[in-house]
Amino acid sequence: MLHIKCPYCGIRSQKEFAYGGDATVKRPKLNSEVSDKEWDDFVYMRKSPRGKHTELWHHISGCRQWFKAQRDTVTHEIFKTAKINEEIK
């Protein structure tokens, strides 16, 4: 079970969180022209990288904030977590 540092609450057990997928996906803007390909990429296409992955987590049994985490998909090491409006590199 992972130990995850919520940027608002501190380190908590994985039990309190829900996984939210790739954090780098950007939703196309409302009312904009979107091609089928762009839309499909946004809705369906996800990379499954080996190694560093910047992803979303939701502290559902805590402060209910979504945040970003950078995790190694092989070792599960979490390098960094950040608020949504913060850059993670």
Binding site: L30, L56, H58, W66, I84
Partner: protein, 998 residues
């Protein structure tokens, strides 16, 4: 029977307390402090079970988790449990054990015929024999394999014991209390670190209890006792005996099970049997020690053959001799201690050492005590069926591939030592690779992946002086990282006997003209010839050899067999062991009871139960409940001998004719506030929200980005910037997360806040033509006329002096209202409604009647919004705005979603107007067509229409809009029913929706 093999002056057992127990029906005695295994051996009982495949007699072999054979069916406290390791269970009064995998008895086992058929049971036997025909698999092969593969029998009764879970955080967890564990714990504890020291046995000390060593002029046992008594006094130390750390997971999360009850004669009512610990430790020290390696020889599975270390432990800890004419068969020095211990207790052993004549302290000790030693000798074959009677031994030739001579010596036990294997299971589970250490011919941990250190014998350090010195250092270093405190500890002086290196000899050659089985893995009956066969048949990867032969796959995880198997493969393949590699270790390290894993989450505690404030009333009024997620909802209120259908018909009919009330507390409620709330709703829902006036409710539909309907419900504008959203019971949590996702990540510029208020409000739906009258009675001062409170209207009032929300919304299709009041007043509101409604013939109705009412109205719910339907599929195209963008809109124009023959919701009635159509039935045009019969759609919801008094169903059907009026068949192979149906509109009752507006 007397304890014929009990010694008088040695052991750590309590001879003042005699304990009676039963083995295979026979009453026997042991002492407090015995294990079941030591008590059996004290009574000279060796034969404890039959082997897995050949049903060969098997006896005790080890003294702890190394034991591969003695898996017993044990009755403790009136409960029967299979596969209990006799070496791990402590003797308590009244315990009763029986052998497994034998019939009719362990002494005379019919299955032993397999032993004579063994050439028919080679490696990969299952794969070769049970290949075809396919149909035989279920009827013949599987039942046969299950029977043959029988270990113990699981109980079918409810487990009466209590199991607990515990979460713990600490600075340092140390697994194993041998010399390295104790030294590191002591050093770390002195620095003030919060330390947990776990030991799987009842006694702390590990090898210190049995090894002949001297630390600071104390014996190993005395030194261990001294350290433990000091640790006990320290508030920052938790000592846990009977506790096995069996899993090492990510981010230094370890799991441990503690045997808290089985060793107690009497337990108080709530005393748990076992406890599972989840331990999150900043640092971990793995001091798991090592396990002795056997040497493989002919018939080496005969009862009476032991690991030399186990024989020594039985003497020194339990005061039990495993035999009175022992042979000690070794390739190293450590077994000499066992021989000397025998000698001390008046028994003359013979030592067979595979090495040339050696000169070390221990060997000289043995010589000086007059122990007979035969160098360059090995055991070739053990003789005896249910017990060792003699052994064929011989002098090895110069390259040790054969014997120069063979002689038979009488013996009643053989104690074997093939040197030591570090216990690397936990370090491997932590993610570390292993590296091969040539000096000890075994794998040791490579670089640490997590915050852990492996020390002592587990790290391949087999001398006590080095182990203790390094362990003190490791403990202090790790603690320094955590507490930033330096500690100065005087490392004790250690005297131990110098040892010579071991001999690389792990498998005796066969004597001429003999071909006895030589077992590598006892528990899975894997012999040398099986491994040879697997390699001959072309299996090369050690992982494949493992699966083909089942080497190391039994519950003992190959603790005594892994390295011998690898050595054998490397010899045959002419490779060195590290090239062969090793198989993966996975949790659990030792078997764990299901009860421990489940803990307290049984029965009612399996998951939390959510109850509405009216729950007690429902119980009092004969409600039959149904689970809706964690909620308990009344399905129907039983009157007299009514069944489900009768009750739901009565309740639904009463709504259509009079008035009914339904507990709708479980609906999800989300409070939405902020200046951008309208804009937000406009993006979340498919329909328009910008112009909803204050005091009005609107039905809304929300999609996922892929265009699939996610949820529906009504949202009401309470005030300018304040909305009250309702969701379905099932989707409440998902919808909240969904809203938070968009507010926090996608559109953070919107100034909106959302919060769940589901539990803050109790809800009652009042439905039926007389509902207005009832509402009027509850709120006499309120204008509830059609003009004062029109359809989709909302007013606030108060009830019992607290705020109440009144919505004119309807799920049943009747004139209806929903009242929300603060949860604490829910029951009072409900009782008041029942009381005021007497004259109006009010009746409560449950979810079954609720479904009936919405189905015949053609209102969709969960079964239609099943994660596969888009708005037009369920005839909600009218809800989809063409003017604005919203979540999922772009998907709705995708090719598959605009096809002409796209699926559509329809109504179905049986042509006989009598037969109910099972939900889940498939719709087909030809009921007799060859399988697979093309499926045109499926029945999503069924009811008995109370309005028309015949069955009615909703279905999702391909090209549904063009199917109205046609006839098909609804087939349900599950219910074995085929019903002719006619397709009609999904709106069976009041298609124009006049009643809700009346």
């Amino acid at each position: 029977m007397t304890q014929s093999h009990r010694l008088n002056n040695i052991g750590l057992i309590n001879r003042n307390k005699k304990i009676s127990f039963k083995f295979n029906g026979k009453k026997l005695f042991g002492f407090e402090g015995d294990t079941l295994a030591s008590a059996l051996l004290a009574n000279n009982i060796h034969l404890v079970g039959r082997s897995f495949k050949y049903h060969r007699p098997r006896g005790l072999f080890g003294a702890g988790i190394d034991e591969p054979n003695a898996k017993l069916q044990v009755v403790i406290n009136g409960q029967s449990e299979p596969n209990i390791n006799a070496t791990e269970i402590e003797l308590v009064e009244g315990i009763s054990a029986t052998s497994q995998n034998c019939w009719p008895s362990v002494e005379f086992d019919i299955g032993a015929i397999n032993n004579f058929l063994k050439r028919f049971f080679p490696a990969g036997f299952y794969y070769k024999t049970f290949m075809w025909p396919k149909s035989f698999w279920y009827r013949v092969y599987e039942p046969f394999i299950r029977k043959a593969a029988g270990l113990g029998v699981g109980s079918t009764e409810k487990d009466k014991e209590r199991y607990e879970h515990k979460y713990e955080y600490c600075d340092l967890l140390i697994t194993g209390s041998g010399p390295s564990g104790l030294a590191s714990a002591y050093a770390a504890a002195k620095s003030g670190a919060k330390v947990i020291l776990a030991e799987d046995k009842p006694r702390f000390g590990g090898s210190l209890l049995t090894d002949d060593v001297n630390i600071d002029n104390l014996s190993g046992k005395q030194w261990a006792d001294k350290i433990i008594s000091e640790l006990k006094e320290m508030p920052n130390v938790t000592l846990k005996n009977r506790s096995q750390v069996f899993g090492y997971y990510d981010h230094n999360m370890l799991v441990m099970f503690e045997r808290t009850g089985d060793h107690l004669e009497k337990k108080s009512k709530y005393h748990p049997r076992q406890r599972l610990w989840y331990i999150r430790s900043k640092e971990v020290i793995l001091s798991t020690g090592s396990i002795e390696r056997p040497i493989v020889f002919g018939n080496n599975d005969t009862p009476g053959i032991f690991l030399a270390s186990a024989a020594k432990e039985y003497m020194k800890v339990y005061g039990v001799v495993v035999g009175k004419k022992p042979l000690i068969f070794t390739n190293n020095d450590s077994a000499y201690e066992t021989a000397i211990e025998f000698k001390k207790n008046g028994i003359d052993p013979i030592i067979l050492d595979t090495r040339e004549e050696q000169d070390t302290d221990l060997i000289n000790d043995a010589k000086n005590q007059g122990i007979e030693i035969k160098f360059s000798h090995a055991v070739a074959v053990a003789n005896g069926y249910k017990k060792v009677k003699s052994a064929k031994i011989g002098k090895l030739n110069s390259n040790k591939t054969g014997f120069e001579n063979i002689e038979t010596v009488e013996c009643d036990c053989i104690c074997v030592s093939g040197f030591w294997t570090p216990t690397v299971h936990l370090t491997s589970q932590s993610g570390n690779k292993l590296k091969f250490n040539k000096d000890i011919d075994a794998f040791v941990p490579d670089k640490s992946k997590q915050k852990e250190t492996t020390i002592g014998a587990a790290n391949g350090s087999f001398t006590l002086k080095e182990t203790i010195e390094k362990s003190f250092e490791s403990g202090a270093n790790v603690a320094k990282k955590l507490t930033e405190k330096e500690v100065n500890i005087q490392v004790p002086s250690v005297t131990e006997k110098k040892q010579k290196t071991h001999d690389r000899f792990w498998c005796s050659p066969l004597p001429k003209n003999e071909n006895p089985k030589r077992f590598v893995d006892f528990q899975n009956d894997v012999s040398v010839s099986d491994i040879e066969l697997a390699l001959r048949e072309g299996y090369r990867s050690i992982e494949h050899v493992k699966r083909y032969t089942t080497l190391g796959m039994a519950t003992d995880q190959g603790r005594t067999s892994n390295l011998n198997g690898l050595q054998l493969v490397s010899n045959i393949e002419n490779k060195i062991v590290p090239e062969v590699g090793h198989t993966t270790f996975r949790p659990p390290f030792t078997p764990v009871t299901i009860g421990t894993i489940v803990g307290r989450e049984v029965g009612h505690h399996y998951m939390p139960t959510r109850k509405s404030p009216m729950h007690e009333w429902h119980i009092k009024n004969n409600a039959v409940f149904v689970d809706a997620g964690a909620w308990k909802r009344p399905r129907y209120y039983k009157q007299g001998n009514e069944n489900l259908l009768e009750a739901s018909k009565r309740e639904a009919k009463n709504v259509r004719e009079n008035v009914g009330i339904c507990d709708v507390t479980t609906l999800g409620k989300i409070d939405i506030k902020g200046p951008d709330s309208a804009e937000f709703l406009n993006r979340v829902y498919t329909n328009a929200w910008m112009k909803l006036p204050v005091g009005k409710a609107r039905y809304g539909l929300m999609l996922r980005e892929d265009g699939i309907v996610m949820d529906d419900g009504t949202t009401t504008r309470i005030s300018e910037n304040h909305y009250h959203m309702t969701t379905t019971t099932a989707q409440a949590a998902n919808v909240l997360s969904h809203l938070e996702y968009y507010l926090q990540i996608v559109w953070p510029e919107l100034n909106v806040n959302v919060v769940s208020t589901t539990e803050q409000w109790a809800g009652a739906a009042i439905a039926g033509p007389k509902s207005r009258e009832l509402l009027k009675k509850l709120f006499p001062d309120l204008d509830v006329s059609n003009e004062g409170l029109p359809f989709m209207g909302y007013v606030e009032s108060s009830l019992f002096g607290v705020p109440a929300k009144i919505f004119r919304i309807s799920f049943s299709g009747e004139l209806a209202y929903e009242i929300n009041v603060e949860s604490d007043y829910g029951l009072s509101m409900w009782e008041k409604l029942m009381e005021l409604g007497k004259g109006l013939r009010v009746q409560p109705y449950g979810t079954e009647a609720l479904s009936t009412l919405r189905i015949e109205m053609g209102h969709v719910a969960g079964p239609e919004l099943d994660g596969r339907t888009i708005p037009s599929d369920v005839s909600l195209d009218g809800m989809v705005s063409k003017k604005k963008d919203f979540i999922g809109k772009r998907s709705l124009v995708k090719e598959a979603f605009i096809k002409n023959d796209r699926q559509k919701i329809v109504g179905l009635v049986p042509t006989d107007r009598k037969s109910s159509i099972p939900e889940g039935s498939h719709i087909v045009s030809d009921k007799n067509a060859k399988l697979p019969n093309p499926k045109l759609g499926h029945v999503s919801s069924s009811c008995w229409s109370v309005e028309n008094n015949n069955p009615f169903s909703l279905a999702i059907m391909k090209d549904g809009k063009n199917m109205i009026g046609k006839k098909f068949f609804a087939v349900s192979p599950v219910h074995k029913k085929t019903i002719e149906v006619e397709v009609i509109s999904s709106h069976y009752v009041d298609p124009k929706g006049e009643r809700v507006r009346s």
